[in-house]
């Protein structure tokens, strides 16, 4: 991989370069400031870097701000960005992921940790090369609906340009980082689109892209007052890690999201209105969960949403924005 490493400490950069050279045949370009890094990015051929490593605490523009600026460059919207930093507090972790970081490595680290993270990034890049075109973007989709390949029902897809929405593997990295630092104050919860299978069958590839992105926007807008990170995990399910919250009101969140969707007035390409209902299950708290168990909370939240739906069907109803809409498409 060709990497760009940004850190205001030249010694730290040299150490990182030495370690990266020991790990594999990677090329590393070093920069001692955010401003110089942006110049390098502009001077190099478009998309020259496969991966970017950023320190956070730097004079002038810090690493989090730089991460946001890099994400504004279209060709680097999806490039893996690994924060390599000594800042281990939750506020910085949250801000980094919200700014577009892909993963987070806290200094001092073992060389095996760096090797592991870079291997994950490499395999991720390989997977991505095989899945070109399966990105749903809130902005670009409005102008260009040329999505030709329909995603699989269970396939997680990347949604870009929606606040707080990241790729599923980034959400896993985020939860893993919270767990490593024993930051357990968050809860995980999931919302699921009612009868997503039917929508999946009926909608064209482009309509499905609109649907998944619009629902993400509606859910995100309903969480504006909360610090959160969310991903689409496939099968019409959105998993969300919420800051704090003893018992988040999933019901209210689903209802507000559905109201947002009603305001959007979704419809299929032919003009047929699309009414979407959402349901969610009990939240899973991250407290005392370490390692893989913390990441498992993401699956548990999805299962909870599934079980809640099944239970509500058995009881004869589920919650959504408007009770009149319940079961409009459940039969």
């Amino acid at each position: 991989m060709k990497m760009l490493a940004v850190d205001d400490d030249p010694l730290s950069l040299d150490l990182l370069e030495t370690l990266v050279a020991q790990i594999g045949s990677h090329e590393i370009v070093k920069s001692e400031s955010a401003e110089a890094a942006l110049e390098i990015i502009n001077q190099e051929p478009s998309g020259a870097f496969d991966c970017i490593l950023l320190d956070i605490r730097m004079p002038g523009t810090d690493g989090i701000e730089l991460c946001k600026l890099i994400r504004e460059i279209p060709i680097y919207k999806r490039t893996p960005i690994l924060m390599v930093t000594q800042m281990s507090d939750k506020a910085n972790i949250d801000s980094a992921f919200a700014a577009g970081a892909t993963d987070y490595l806290t200094k001092p680290f073992e060389i095996s940790e760096l090797r592991g993270r870079l291997q994950i990034i490499e395999s991720f890049l390989e997977d991505r090369r095989a899945n070109v075109g399966k990105i749903f973007a809130a902005k670009s989709l409005q102008a260009d609906s040329a999505i030709e390949t329909k995603i699989d029902l269970l396939e997680p897809v990347e949604i870009i340009d929606v606040k707080g929405v990241v790729e599923y593997h980034v959400l896993e990295n985020y939860v893993a980082q919270l767990s490593r630092k024993s930051l357990f104050g968050s809860t995980v919860t999931a919302l699921k689109i009612v009868n997503f299978e039917k929508h999946h069958q009926k909608a064209s590839a482009a309509d499905l892209g609109f649907l998944i992105t619009d629902v993400a926007e509606a859910i995100s807008d309903a969480l504006l007052e909360t610090t959160f990170l969310m991903a689409y995990s496939g099968n019409g399910t959105y998993v969300c890690v919420l800051e704090g919250g003893w018992r988040p009101d999933t019901n209210a969140w689903a209802k507000n999201s559905c109201k947002n969707l009603e305001k959007m007035g979704l419809c299929l390409t032919g003009g047929e209105p699309l009414h979407i209902n959402l349901y969610g299950g009990p939240a899973v708290r991250l407290i005392s969960r370490v390692g893989a168990r913390a990441v498992d909370a993401l699956s548990e939240a999805q299962e909870n949403a599934e079980k809640a739906y099944e239970a509500s069907i058995a009881d004869g109803g589920f919650f959504g924005a408007d009770s009149d809409l319940a079961f409009w498409n459940a039969s």
Binding site: D8, D9, L11, S12, D14, L15, T18, L19, A21, Q22, D55, R57, P59, Q86, K107, P108, F109, E110, I111
Partner: protein, 123 residues
């Protein structure tokens, strides 16, 4: 660990030790200036920035104690920045310990000494 990797680490480690003088001095001057400077926040932030650099590279290069202390010192400055009144005695106590730690490292900095204890994390 290849010889080339080991050599490179040794070279970076030597540069780190050599730079400790300047870095320690920056922290020293920032803390001492608090008594006379109006802008105490800026002085403390300058000290923090230097401690942050020390903490980031010290441990991987074999100076775990210095790295941990610099990180703690940096955190304590952050705590002081959020207080209405600075505890100068606490800051100076930390500064003194930092200076002593740096001096002891510089006395003990020859490669023959630091290789003895297999200090780095990359073996």
């Amino acid at each position: 660990m290849t010889p080339a990797f080991q050599d490179k680490l040794t070279e970076i480690r030597s540069r780190f030790v050599a730079a400790l003088d300047v870095r320690g001095q920056i922290v020293y001057e920032a803390i001492i200036s608090i008594e006379t400077e109006d802008n105490q926040g800026a002085a403390l932030q300058a000290a923090q920035m230097e401690l942050h650099k020390i903490a980031g590279t010290a441990a991987p290069l074999g100076f775990k104690e210095l790295g941990a202390f610099a990180a703690d010192f940096e955190s304590r400055i952050s705590a002081q920045l959020s207080c209405s009144e600075l505890n100068l005695i606490a800051l100076k106590t930390d500064l003194l310990e930092l200076m002593e730690t740096i001096e002891s490292i510089q006395l003990d900095a020859s490669p023959s000494n630091w290789m003895r204890g297999s200090p780095n994390a990359f073996a």
